[in-house]
Subunit: 442 residues, 2 copies
Amino acid sequence: MSTSPGWNQPRTSLFTDHYELTMLQAALHSGAAHRKSVFEAFARRLPDGRRYGIVGGTGRLLEGIAAFRFGDAELEFLGRTRVVNQKTLDYLADFRFTGDIWGYAEGEAYFPNSPVLIVESTFAEACILETYILSVLNHDSAIASAASRMITAAGDRPCIEMGSRRTHEESATAAARAAVIAGFDSTSNLEAGLRYGIKTVGTAAHSFTLLHDTERDAFEAQVASLGTGTSLLVDTYDVETAVRTAVDIAGDQLGAVRLDSGDLVEQAQWVRRLLDELGNVNTRIMVTSDLDEFAIAALQSAPVDAYGVGTSLVTGSGAPTASMVYKLVSRTDDNGEFVPVAKTAKNKVSKGGRKYALRRLNEHGTATQELIGVGHRPLDDGNDRPLLQQFIKNGELLPGWTGHEGVLHARQRHAESMAELPAVVHRLHRGEPAIPTLYEEN
Amino acid sequence: MSTSPGWNQPRTSLFTDHYELTMLQAALHSGAAHRKSVFEAFARRLPDGRRYGIVGGTGRLLEGIAAFRFGDAELEFLGRTRVVNQKTLDYLADFRFTGDIWGYAEGEAYFPNSPVLIVESTFAEACILETYILSVLNHDSAIASAASRMITAAGDRPCIEMGSRRTHEESATAAARAAVIAGFDSTSNLEAGLRYGIKTVGTAAHSFTLLHDTERDAFEAQVASLGTGTSLLVDTYDVETAVRTAVDIAGDQLGAVRLDSGDLVEQAQWVRRLLDELGNVNTRIMVTSDLDEFAIAALQSAPVDAYGVGTSLVTGSGAPTASMVYKLVSRTDDNGEFVPVAKTAKNKVSKGGRKYALRRLNEHGTATQELIGVGHRPLDDGNDRPLLQQFIKNGELLPGWTGHEGVLHARQRHAESMAELPAVVHRLHRGEPAIPTLYEEN
């Protein structure tokens, strides 16, 4: 499956825990592998003190599920290392997902126990997708959730994703995608540009200045090659000298200066005054340097035009995983009747039965509850918004969720979902989830 | 480049920040792109309170650098989106790294400012590798460093990597590799088995028990299909009942029981007594459930035989990135003479000049200093161990660092490096780096 002209989704089938396939083998042995099953992905709680989470990765996941096939290389490996027996290898050789998948649209806000993804198929099919589903949702939702808070903190000022170097190269590409879904303006990550059609941008590093004999030589080269609209990095040596040199070379059309160290609030203030004095009222000030949502909030009073965010974004700003789990909640018995199931030993107790979800809204269109029906659809009081969308039907991907189109839709969904939540979501300090999750039992 | 029969390294060239290529364009314009340059990757500090870090990812990085090429898809994207001009595209079309790369062997301990990787080539070649180099080293070193602490806490008991579902699917595969380098016994991640020849293992999930009409049905199916040596998960319903059922079905050859919830210390104690009473003295107890190095240390007094570690491992146990940077420290001038260079603006100051590194050892073979020569090799006092190894010479990969062989060598290096460090590295609580980093200036 290709999502862009330049990229083909590699096979995803071995991004899987060993035990998924040995469980499959044992269930093929007992015959239970073919029981119809409902698995749900959800987070038991939000990261400590967070008010909401943002679903990320759904589009990427759906692209990957289409590529969840076992080819010669995978089957040879599983056979040679005796992970599973021949009967199981035969099953895997023909594997393609044929069931239904529902879930929260990518970009949607979620809360504790929101049924973010629901997989309906045989046990065999739903079981072996577990690890891959959780990997994608846990990573991308952690990044989207952190990004959303940064966007809230930044208000109208654009945020640019620049964290590629601080995380695994593939995580970086997924993180860029998740950041843009949550409202980031663009990314430095070129692979994300190629795969998802996301806008990429860049400035320059200290090494570029140090490479040249003088800062003036470096700025002249950059402006001559990239135009006066470029962003010049002004804190390699002395910031004031650099700003004056930059304006001298690029004139009043200089696009931006970037500050990457020191007291950013204080620097931004005097650099703004200096630029204005020099006539560069349209030259923007971009700040970077280990920003997170709290640092962004602290910079809101300073004359800053754009935030470049790196480490904190790609590591989820203290919550690098969304801690979602994937649980069997219902399966058929020998008569073909669905039976709700749940672990009952102490701790980590889950609620059995297929879930349905509405966001309850008041008369002003503000969310007041996450309402979850167990085994049935909760009654819509007229203002409520149903949360579950169908992504895959009888194994076929439904349109609109993947590729560049999926990113655009998810970004729109994020903006709309945020606009609907109570004002408490704009508070960065720790607290309870913005709305409570309530169950409507049968 | 293929590292295993079943896997081909994809192209890595766009795992790169936009600005690396625009800096290249500007440096091609000024002519400085062809200046010989030395870039170094290092961490200014260890994560808060850590005593040491472990270099991870070097083998994976070297495999990726060999695949750092620009093919039609990459060039078409960069041209269409106007990231760079035609002259730069022409340069990239022919790109292959032709310089030298040195660094700490994978698995080696490192400290603040240890020159973990040194890239010697033209500015053009070394600059565009920056993002990819840092992505790999920052991620894999974060995981290897966390894994090493868990191994220290676990003593002689094996640790099994099980965190795939909590992180990006590709990070998961790299994390499994890094964990094994730091001493983990095996992983649940099948892709890591395929790519790197790492041993994979698995037990079963609660869903497998819930799928069947009774726990007995589930255990019977698992034992019949996977043998009595399998590991049965005993905390879906009542743990005591489950243990008795497991022994009833599998007999005294039952491989292991797994506990995944509750008070693990207390449970392990009475489950051990129960197994012994039932005659299953050789049945092992494996514990999982959000373990980190501190939880492992707390379980050392309990009769536990193996630790399954997930979330904390793959998220670096509080430090998801190693925060390494990559800095130009020396480059030639117009006469071809090397000039040390460094940023001088306040904060984030670096030390210019090519680094050389020794681990100073006392007469007992215990490390006492990280000794770094700036611009020259420090004098070896006879016991010292040189730390820099050459990985790539004139663009050619030297043998032993990559693939399965690289993993084995790195695991060995980790064990030897740890044995040489002072005993303080076995303390989990916060403190200063185990040895100081000292500079020997010219």
